[in-house]
């Protein structure tokens, strides 16, 4: 299974590299481009895990539409020079890093130590081919999860209206400050 692991490590490297780019790059637009690439990497992981449909959706919706919005908004702002890209305050930052470190080390520690999760290895999963998963996915969405699906539809409608009305707001109490 060498090809498998090589692909995994390559994708992991890409994702983590570009995620760190989001975190570290002081230029928000470049950070956004980094995020796009990280998302393409995640889509690659999805393809690799034989969830092709989700990979396609990830590319089309996430990388293709959502992130374009981010970049567009950032470009509209046209921020000259990012002032204080990172939060100041020594203690606070130490606390933030500490919290992140605790979370990640705990999770990794537990993942490695746990015997339950070890059960499922890559040898276990072979049966699903990409297209069949898509059909099962559709069946599930339109039967078992149909209520959630409809609710999400309504949510999207509300979001569309809300986003338009929020971005059209003018004036207000702090208008001049």
């Amino acid at each position: 299974m060498a090809g498998d692991s090589i692909l995994f490590y390559a994708l992991s490297f890409l994702i983590i590299y570009f995620a760190l780019g989001v975190l570290m790059n002081p230029n928000p637009i470049k950070a956004a481009f980094n995020l796009v690439l990280a998302m393409v990497g995640v889509a690659g992981v999805f393809f690799h895990l034989q969830s092709g449909f989700l990979g396609g959706v990830q590319l089309a919706v996430y990388a293709g539409a959502v992130m374009v919005l981010f970049v567009m908004v950032l470009m509209i702002f046209d921020l000259k020079k990012e002032r204080d890209a990172f939060s100041q305050g020594f203690l606070g930052n130490i606390g933030k890093l500490l919290a992140a470190g605790i979370v990640v080390s705990l999770v990794i520690n537990n993942v490695i130590l746990s015997s339950d999760l070890q059960l499922a290895t890559s040898n276990a999963a072979k049966a699903e081919s990409g297209r069949d998963t898509t059909k099962i996915l559709a069946d599930l969405i339109f039967t078992e999860y149909v209520f959630a699906f409809e609710v999400l539809g309504i949510l999207l409608l509300l979001v569309a209206i809300g986003a338009v009305s929020i971005s059209r707001i003018k004036g207000g109490t702090h208008a001049d400050s």
Partner: protein, 107 residues
């Protein structure tokens, strides 16, 4: 004694990848001061969660996890839409999206 299998890729590797990406996203939210970059950090965290869903779904041979990913993506799109709209209206008023300037609700 920890023995880590670096060659055979299994569920654990994906979980660790997801944990790392999640924490990077979390740190983006915690450390970056640009509102939009903070939103991007949230997207990163959601992506990390999606990786776990898909990995579990793949290794347990259950498609239900993928349904959740589908929903998470929808929610993320919705969240991005509203979040960006708020950013736009904030920018319209203050000509700035640096979070450290918005501390009016000090206790």
């Amino acid at each position: 004694m920890l023995t880590v299998d670096f060659v055979n890729i299994g569920l654990n590797h994906y979980l660790i990848l997801s944990a790392i990406v999640f924490v990077i996203g979390m740190l983006t939210v915690l450390l970056r001061r640009n509102l939009i970059v903070m939103l991007m950090g949230i997207e990163l965290m959601l992506n990390a969660v999606n990786i776990t869903f898909v990995a579990f779904s793949h290794y347990n041979q259950l498609v239900n996890g993928q349904v959740m990913v589908f929903f998470v993506m929808t929610i993320a799109a919705a969240e991005a839409g509203v979040g960006l709209a708020i950013c736009v209206s904030i920018f319209k008023r203050f000509k700035e999206v640096n979070i450290s300037l918005f501390e009016n609700l000090r206790g």
